[in-house]
């Protein structure tokens, strides 16, 4: 029997999938906003992350060519927000994206990746059975006034984060796999 002390608690995370339909994006946006609001009282930071993830989803809907659900994962780790948006579509030639180049303002498309790269501290694109956009936003833990724990950080409980040993382990493995390449 494995004791609880040998398993580190799963970091607060949000994982869900969304059908590649524009009508579903609003609900996805609100779920992400609610999750972030538990940890971050700074609306600017929350808006940045919500927009970045939404842009990645919009790209998946528009360009992946797949009708499979888009997978979304957000993890809070060490004060940073790490997110991944993955589709199962035709992929994307990541080398064609130049984050330093401002998209021509009068084009009515083509801004999604640029916005993500500007809103976040890190962005990574990888293609393997679809496109995965990984992003990192640093310093997102912003406690609400008066809500500081003895350790100096705020860690409110996230619904679904602690569901027993085997599920915790499953989450940890999935998260580790997903973010191994970020380090």
């Amino acid at each position: 029997m494995i004791s609880d002390t040998s398993i580190r608690p799963a970091p607060p995370h949000l994982r869900f999938s969304v059908a590649p339909e524009p009508s579903r994006l609003l609900r996805a946006r609100e779920r992400i906003r609610d999750y972030l609001a538990l940890h971050c009282a700074d609306e600017t930071i929350v808006n940045d992350v919500v927009l970045a993830v939404e842009e990645a989803c919009t790209n998946a809907i528009r360009h992946s060519g797949s009708s499979d659900d888009i997978e979304i994962l957000l993890v809070l780790e060490g004060g940073d927000l790490k997110a991944a948006v993955k589709d199962k579509g035709r992929g994307f030639a990541a080398e064609t994206f130049d984050p330093a180049r401002l998209p021509y303002p009068l084009l009515d498309h083509g801004r999604g990746l640029f916005l993500i790269s500007r809103l976040c501290d890190e962005m990574e694109l990888s293609c393997d059975g679809g496109l995965e956009v990984r992003l990192v936003k640093r310093g997102v833990i912003v406690p609400r006034t008066g809500e500081v724990s003895p350790s100096g950080t705020v860690e409110p409980s996230v619904p679904g984060a602690h569901h027993g040993e085997s599920r915790q382990r499953m989450f940890l493995e999935e998260i580790d796999e997903l973010f191994a390449a970020l380090d």
């Binding site: 524009p22 401002l102 303002p105 009068l106 009515d108 498309h109 801004r111 999604g112 500007r118």
Partner: protein
């Protein structure tokens, strides 16, 4: 020269609806369009695309699309994409209208 005013819904994710509203607003003789975003809390690149596409339907030389009342998030997105130089930004619709009447 005629100015039309559109009040936008709170979430600009419904790009087709935004496009419809702008299509309706931009009749053949409209030069200046003021879009009141004071009730809009959040925009994304889809909404930007619609604004740009619609602004191109205005008269090429004299057409102007002004945005009134952008909040911090809207303003930030416009600035990041350089669109704060394409659209005229005003704090209120009154200021936007006053400017467009004067020009």
């Amino acid at each position: 020269m005629r100015s039309r005013l559109r009040r936008q819904r709170r979430h600009l994710y419904t790009a087709p609806r935004l496009k419809e509203a702008l299509d309706e607003a931009i009749q053949s003789d409209v030069n200046h369009l003021v879009i009141d975003l004071s009730d809009t809390s959040f925009i994304d690149s889809t909404a930007l695309g619609v604004l740009i596409a619609e602004s191109r339907r205005l008269e090429p030389e004299r057409g102007l699309l002004a945005i009134a009342g952008p909040n911090e998030q809207v303003r930030k997105v416009l600035q990041m994409t350089g669109l704060d130089h394409v659209f005229a930004l005003y704090a209120t619709r009154e200021e936007a209208l006053a400017d467009s009447v004067a020009s």
